[in-house]
Structure formats: C-alpha cells, structure tokens
C-alpha cells in the first residue's frame, strides 16, 4: 500500500513539473524565467552539497567554477575571441559557434581541473582556514575576469561578453519559440525542460554517489577525518575528488547560464553568489538532497516573490530598500537564524545510520 502511495506521489510530482511552465506561460515570461534561474541554482546547490554536505569542506568560492563554466561557453560560442584575435578569424570564417554538447564536456573537464587546482593547496586545511582560502580563490578569479581586457582583450573586462549563442537542439534554437502539436512552447519554457532534465540527472548522480563507497567515505571524512584515515581511506584523493566533482556541477550550471542569458559579466559572479549558494545548502540541510533542493528553490524564488512587496517598501523608505537589498537581507538573516535555531537545516536527514 505504501509503495503505491509513493508511486502516486511521484506521478503527481512529475505531472506538476511537466505542466508547470505551460500553466505559468500565460502569465508572462518573467515567472518561468525565475523558475529557470531557480533550476540553475538547484544545480549549483547540488554541486556545492557534494563539497559541503557530503565531504564537510566549507567552500566560499564556489561561484568561481560557475564563472569558469560560463566564460568557457562564452569564449567558444560568441564573437568575443575572434574580435580580439584576428588570426583566429581565418580558421573560423563563419565565426566561432561551438555546439553546446561539445562545450559541456570541455567545461566539465576545465572546472574539474580547476577544482583540483583549488583543492591541492588546501588539503591540509580544515574548516575556517579552508573557507577563507576558497573565498580568496573566488576573488582572484573575479579580479582576473575584471582585468583581463588589457593588454589583450580576453574577457572584455567589466563590460562583459554579449551575443553568446543560445543552445540549439536538433537544429532548433532554444531562443525561439516552438509550435508543437498545437501547443506553443516559449523560449523560456524550452530552457525549463532542458534545465529540468539536467537537474534530474544531477539528482540521480548525487543520489548514487551518496550511497556509493565514495559517498560513504566522504561522510566518514566529514565526521572524523583522523578516524577515516585510520580506516585506510585515502583522504587526499577523496577530498580532491569532492572538490572537482562539485566544481563540474558549477561548470555545467555556468555554461547553461551563459547560453540562457546570452550575456555574462563579472558582476554575476561576486562573493554574494557564493555565499548565497552556501546559504541554500545550509538552510535546506547539508548532505540531504531533498533539503538542498528545497533550500535552493526557497532562496531563489522567495526574493523574487518579495519584489512585489518591495515596491511599496521602496516608496516608504525613500528608495533605500529595493528588491536586491531585500534579497541580501533575507540571505543574511537566513544564515544566522537557521544556524541558531535549526543547525541541521529545514529538512534534515533522519538521524538513522549515519550520524549527522
């Protein structure tokens, strides 16, 4: 009886997820766009969850991988590189339009390597030191993004990179709407389905990882590193693996983000974003996948919903409180209050088996 119940529940959930954008469509693109961004944040939170939730390593520079993924896609699928390097133009007379299925593996490998690069010098560090070093790493990447427009224009500096190719699937660009079986699918809706598929894939990967030998090893490291080492675990390699696997999620999310927005600038990759992803993981319940997803959705969608509250508030406060500030306030309060009142998160794992 119980299993029938869960099946019914999964079916309802699947239907809701499938129909959600079609229901939202008549209300305009804005809401679907918000949901799309929320899915990207879920992807980021799932990636960070591997590092923070599973392996217990606090990473405050996670957005760096998001940035690397985004810039990798932007370089390979926009006029940016050809404009600064004339000699490349001869090789690509039609412009640089790398298809997304080719960029994704590149982005994954690249962020994986950067994950190891960040992990290697920080292996000996624990807790708070690690947090500061990763934060520094994020800042270094941002400073480079901001300043690599001279002497050779690579990243176009603070102005950012525009005219990035949208994702094309089977010859159809996701930036255009699609009519199929009498139904109209807007661009944001198409992206929704793509992101949803990716998130589901990510959840499956995370779930399998968590219950694998590696996942159990990470949790052993999280609970007690010395004991884990004594049990014969290679903590060095396992930590590096956590860093680089988590980083690849960030890279994929970044590449999707670049394609979805068709424009990126260093502004999107500040420290606040890193902190926000940490807040998502912590709020939901680090190490517990449904909790992490809940946390990401809450923190991604709630501030947008608050926008409607923000307008009257903005008039009341003489323009001091706007949606962005409200969002920041919410994130800060979440982090403090969640830790004080519910340090295990809103939807923590049942304390059976592994002690959390």
């Amino acid at each position: 009886m119980k299993s029938l119940n869960t099946h019914a529940r999964s079916l309802v959930l699947a239907l809701v997820l499938l129909l959600l954008p079609l229901v939202l469509q008549p209300f305009g693109n804005a809401w679907i766009r918000i949901v799309d961004m929320a899915l990207i944040y879920v992807l980021l939170a799932l990636g960070l969850n591997i590092v923070v939730g599973f392996a217990g390593l606090l990473d405050l520079g996670f957005v760096a991988f998001f940035a690397i993924g985004a810039y990798a896609y932007a370089f390979l699928a926009s006029p940016q590189l050809l404009e600064s390097w004339g000699w490349l133009q001869q090789h690509f007379p039609d412009g640089l339009h790398t298809p997304w299925w080719l960029v994704m593996p590149i982005s994954i490998v690249l962020t994986g390597i950067f994950g190891v690069l960040l992990g290697a010098p920080t292996l000996k560090l624990r807790g708070d030191y690690l947090a500061i070093v990763t934060l520094g790493f994020g800042e270094i990447i941002r400073v480079f993004m901001n300043n690599l427009d001279q002497p050779l224009n690579i990243t176009n500096g603070p102005k950012g990179i525009g005219a990035i190719d949208p994702i094309q699937i089977a010859g159809h660009s996701l930036a255009k709407k699609l009519d199929w079986m009498g139904l109209e699918f807007k661009s944001v809706t198409l992206y929704y389905y793509l992101f949803l598929c990716t998130v589901i894939l990510a959840v499956v990967i995370c779930h399998r990882l968590q219950h694998s030998r590696i996942g159990r090893a990470w949790m052993a490291i999280r609970e007690d590193e010395v004991a884990a080492q004594a049990m014969g675990l290679n903590t060095r390699n396992l930590k590096l693996l956590a860093f680089s696997l988590g980083a690849t999620f960030g890279g994929v999310a970044g590449s999707f983000f670049a394609a979805f927005q068709q424009f990126i600038s260093p502004e999107s990759f500040g420290l606040m974003e890193s902190v926000m992803v940490v807040a998502m993981v912590v709020l939901g319940g680090a190490g517990h996948l449904p909790g992490v997803i809940l946390g990401a959705l809450l923190l991604a969608i709630l501030p947008e919903a608050l926008r409607y509250v923000a307008t009257p508030l903005q008039d009341l406060s003489g323009g001091r409180i706007d949606a962005a500030i409200l969002r920041q306030l919410l994130i800060a309060l979440t982090m403090v209050l969640a830790m004080l009142w519910r340090p295990q998160g809103l939807w923590p794992k049942h304390p059976q088996g592994v002690k959390t």
Partner: protein, 309 residues
Amino acid sequence: MDTLVQQIINGLVLGSLYALVALGYTMVYGIINLINFAHGEVLMVGAMTCWSVMTFLAENVPQLAPAWAFAMGLIAAAFVCVLLNVAIEKLAYRPLRNAPKLAPLITAIGVSILLQTLAMIIFKPNYKSFPNPMPSAPMNILGAVITPTQVMILITTACLLLILMWVIHRTRLGRAMRATSENEQMASLMGIQPDRVISATFAIGAVLASVAGVMWAANFGTVHHAMGFLPGLKAFTAAVLGGIGNLPGAVLGGLCLGLIESVGSGYLGPLTGGVLGSQYSDIFAFLVLIGMLTLRPSGLLGERVAHRA
C-alpha cells in the same frame, strides 16, 4: 629609489592599519578558535559612526573646531563598535560555542552580510567623502612624501600597541585572557569567568577595529558600506601570516602584508612591461595567504597552533 621609499612609507601606513584589525582577529581566535568574519564590518561601522557624528556636528555646531569633531566622532565610533561586537558575540557566537565548527562560521558570515546590508539601507549605498581634520600639506622625507594623516596613523598605531601590550601583560584582565586562551576549563576552575573574558576580548578588538576604520577613512577620504570587506579579509591574512593567536605576530604580519602589497603593486607594472598593473594588488594578499597556509601554516611567529590549521 624615491618610488621605493614612497612605497615603503605607504606600505607601513597600510600595514599598521592591517595590524590593528589583525589583532582583533588573532585575539578572538586565540581564545575561542573562531574567525570573527564580521570583524571587517566592525571597522566599517566605526568609520560610518565617526562620519555621521562629524557631519551632524558640522551641521548643528558649526563653530566647533574640526579636530574636536573628529575626536568626538572617534570616541563615539569606539563606543558603538564595542557595543556592537559584544552584542554579536552574545547573540550569534555564544549559543554555538559547543556546536560543530562550521555552524559559528556560517553565522559569522551571515552577520557580516547582515551588517553590510543594514549599513547600505541606513546610509545609502553611495561613497561619502570623509572630512579630514588634519592639514593636507605633505612633508618630504628622503625624496618621498608623507601626509600628516599618515604620520597620525603611525603614531596612533604605535600608542595603541603599547597600551594593548600593557593590558595583556600587566593587568588582571590580561592575565585572565592569557589563561583562558591557554585552557578555558582550567581558567574557570581558577575563578576566571570565561564569558566575561571573551566579552572583554571582543570589546578590545572592537576598539582597535573602530580606530583602524576611522584612520582608514581619514587616509583614503571616503566611507561606504562595503569598505570593511577587503581590509577585514587582508587583516585576517595578516593574522595568519604572523601566526594566528600570536599578538606580536599579528603586528608583524600586518606590516609585512602592507609592505608586500604596496611595494609589489608599485613594481608590478614596470616589471611585467605593463601587462599586469596595480589593479592586481588585491590578489597579493590572497596569494600570500594560500602560500603561507601551504608552506608554513603556523605563521611567521606562531608555533603552537599548527595542529589547528
């Protein structure tokens, strides 16, 4: 040669400000093993308070000399910062003292962002010019220039350091602090109240940070809501560089970091043929931090905290 002397002077000034903030980090870390992430924000609140008091006095009591307004602003800043830092410790860190290590760290980051956001709401997010009461005519030393503000910073830092050393080594409170940092349980058996000592530590750190904030604002001429973030981060780097938990180490680390940054960014452009300019100066601190933690996690002067790193 002139540039070198100039960069050294700038580096010492910058470094002494880092040192003041780094002392706050290092004292707190020495006692409760926590990185007080909000410490940089305390610096910002100090500068903001001083700015508010000075603007208020300039508007309402115009006959008051600017130097007096500055002094009153400084005292108000120290007062507000002490209250703030003690309150932060009571509300955000104390309940989590026995929680897993990540918990207080995450609240600390939350408090830091909270303070920044509140400051942005209260003071609006624009840059405000800071009225500097010191004469602006620079003095010449060995072909380099030093402003009276910079001289004031060096003298103030030196005085504060002497007072701090006296407090730590010659007073009852200082002895209690050293005992608590050595072994909290044992100290409490000897009749020391650790909670009080911890509050006092946060208060002393706040005074140093508020003075550093006001000096920072006077030196660079502006205040804004995010001004505490980078100095805070670099001061933490300085504390690690000198050996966290070690007071002379924090001062040494601060001065070294200031010199590295100033001299480094001054010569980066010419050395690399203009490829990398002074806009990369912020990276130095992080590279020093990463290098230091990898090669010598106990810092220049520290030896007792290696196992904690």
